[in-house]
Symmetry: none
Subunit: 146 residues, 2 copies
DNA sequence: ATAGGACCTGAAGTCGCTAGAGGTTCAAGA
DNA sequence: TCTTGAACCTCTAGCGACTTCAGGTCCTAT
């Protein structure tokens, strides 16, 4: 039991290290019920399992990709219940797929615009810098999202 | 003088209209020192010049492209000094472009997984759902941006 | 036994806005 | 000239998703 604690369970700092997530953020996720609470030592410190590590990695990834905390909650629910009927899962997945595609489309526009801006490496001075020019003048902007 | 005020200077509502920026947001930008303060009428209302219109358009455009307020502050400083070398502006844009591309790459991975999931009109259970897995496990992630 | 690093809680601050309350000014029509 | 109502003003609080801080407690290696 003592050995279990020492060998299998991660203190919050280790979990943070392993996921690239800040300690405070982990506590925050726990607080808002996104990450299940870890057990505590007799001295009230959190100890996490490999399962927590998985979930937190998932959360980090999804946040990086721009999913809201609520969306992540949905996705986690999906994975938590393997017996869940498929229609529901499909619906959630489909909704998120649409969302992902919209995000991709938007980012591709941005990419093109930024590319265009930086491609013409300017002659040296701000006066004829493409970046500034494009930003200053809507007319020079190719994408249609605005 | 009176005519100047009426003809050349824009009240905040007009500026908002012309730039597609909300009135509150304009006041906010002024407050944080991103947009220079406009003059005031004797009754304390803001009046803006064409110069403000230009700057605000620049800000809006840059925000649309995902630049942070701080990045915009830098870009504005750069653009104010036309003799300055433009490598700096390039660098800001290039960093942002790299960021955008990394996000696109990851979203595409996710898109594929979500697609796969919904396409399979699945066999009954979540058990073999890889969405969570893909996001949770770095090792299963194909792209190399992290 | 003790030093000092890791951990705890709760509250407040950050960013980039947005919304609301409650009051003042401007400009066009009677 | 007066009136009316749209547009403006300031100040405060709220949002999501954290981050930082103050002031403590715990854990573990020596």
């Amino acid at each position: 039991m003592r050995a279990d604690l020492a060998e299998r369970l991660l203190p919050i700092g280790r979990l943070a290290e392993a996921t690239g997530c800040k300690i405070e953020t982990i506590r925050y996720y726990e607080q808002i019920g996104l990450l299940p609470e870890g057990e505590r030592t007799s001295g009230n410190q959190r100890r996490y399992t490999r399962r927590h590590l998985q979930i937190l990695s998932f959360i980090r990834h999804a946040r990086d990709l721009g999913f809201s905390v609520d969306a992540i909650r949905d996705l986690l629910k999906l994975s938590a219940d393997p017996a869940r009927p498929c229609a529901e899962a499909d619906a959630i997945a489909a909704a998120h797929l649409a969302d992902v595609r919209a995000k991709i489309a938007r980012l591709r526009n941005l990419e093109q615009e930024l590319e265009r801006m930086t491609r013409l490496h300017c002659s040296g001075a701000i006066a004829d810098c493409r970046v500034i020019e494009v930003l200053a003048d809507h007319g020079k902007c190719m994408h249609d999202s605005h």
